[in-house]
Symmetry: C7
Subunit: 95 residues, 7 copies
């Protein structure tokens, strides 16, 4: 089974957040916007979304930073994914 | 009796969520956006919705992931359905 | 006396909800979006609503599912009606 | 003294609500959208409101149903009026 | 010193509200939208506001009804004024 | 060091509010919209902001009334400034 | 590793806020909009964002004031960054 995102949706697989587990400190009031590092697993076709043309700018394999707040968590074949709108992805992490 | 959705509405029939019943864990604050796997039962004609052209991208029989938050639950002839806007469907599950 | 709806408004008469009275269970948090089955009693002319062209897609006699949340309840000559925007009607029930 | 409404505003005079005073039951959570029967006393000129062309569809003497929530109550020469946007009027009551 | 309003802003000077001081009854939940009778002291030039053409329809000396909720209170040379957007003025009071 | 505002932003320096310090009364519920008298210190270039053409209408040296609610407070070289959108300035004070 | 911002996003590195650590006073209700001085580390390409053309007006090395409220905090290789929309940057600090 695989997930085929619609419109401007992007399927992500969260990466191990080594840095954040070290401290374990959660500042109150910021939990909703906790940044997330993830790998792009599937990318929607883009096109006209809500009457506005959206061009997809991420591709499968990109490591990205996204805002967790708007994501939809999905469990499929024992794997967990997050589906976000491309607009919730704020940056690509290049190496 | 059958449900004929208007505009960008899609009628869904929820699938058995075997994976989620195993754990039964509900994380606080995420209940509103609990993802849902469902089968498409009927698809609206699309067209101009709220002044914006909407093209329908799902079809009857598709297995989809949707955001429960915006759905309308309907009970008809002892069967339960959920009617959502296509925009609340985030991905198609392909096998 | 009769109700003549303006713009994209639709006058509905709620049908007996036999199914829902049997169980009488109301899930907390879902009361606001309790789905409703009703018969269309009068349909507004449509036209330009809030700067957007709206074409009416329901007709008098249609049995419809609507979202109760946005409706306006009216009592006229001892009969009760609900007036909704067409956009709050999610599906037509065909037999 | 008289009230001359601006733009898409309509001045209403509330009618005696005989039906509602009989029962006196107010369902919790619905008070904000309590429907109102009223007579149109003055109608604004319409025109471009918030960048959108609005054509006035009610006239002085019409009996209308409106949503109380958005109205502005005015007391002038010991008489009470309600000023609403035409969009808050959902139907005309014809006899 | 005098106040020169920008854009669609209107400077008002509140009139004595004899009627309202007699009863002194404030209905709970309506305080935010308490209607106000005032005299127009200065009128902005109008023009393109937020991308929309606004034509000013009130003039200095007009007695108007406005919604207090959106106003900005200003004290200048021991006099008190309220500055509102023209859209917050719902009617002119003619004699 | 100096502040160069972007887009429709305006840098203000608050004036001594002699009138308000005399009474010292703060009405509950109005604190968020406390009006402010200030001098314009720097003006952004205007241009297309959020897809809408904005023309700057205030200039350096203008004394203005603004709504505190939307401002950003900045401390630079021991001086305090407030940066607001031009839309949050409601009037110019002329002498 | 480096962060490549998408669309109208800007990567910032916060500067030492000497002034604010001296007093340490936080006024209640203003914490969400605490102004921030930071250096621009990377700038997105701009382009059509949400159907609106956005031209980037800051460049790498600029010292800027931004509103913390909308930022996304990222920790990468033991360094901390904040990613904001250009619209959340209110001014450039020139020396």
């Amino acid at each position: 089974m695989k997930l085929v995102p619609l419109g401007d949706k992007v399927v992500l697989k969260q990466l191990e957040a080594e840095e954040t587990t070290k401290s374990g400190i959660v500042l109150p009031g910021q939990a909703q916007e906790k940044p997330q590092q993830a790998e792009v697993v599937a990318v929607g076709p883009g096109g006209v979304i809500d009457g506005k043309e959206v061009t997809m700018q991420v591709k499968v394999g990109d490591k990205v930073i996204y805002q967790k707040y708007a994501g939809t968590n999905v469990k499929l074949d024992a794997e967990e994914f997050v589906i976000v709108k491309q607009n919730d992805i704020v940056a690509i992490v290049e190496e």
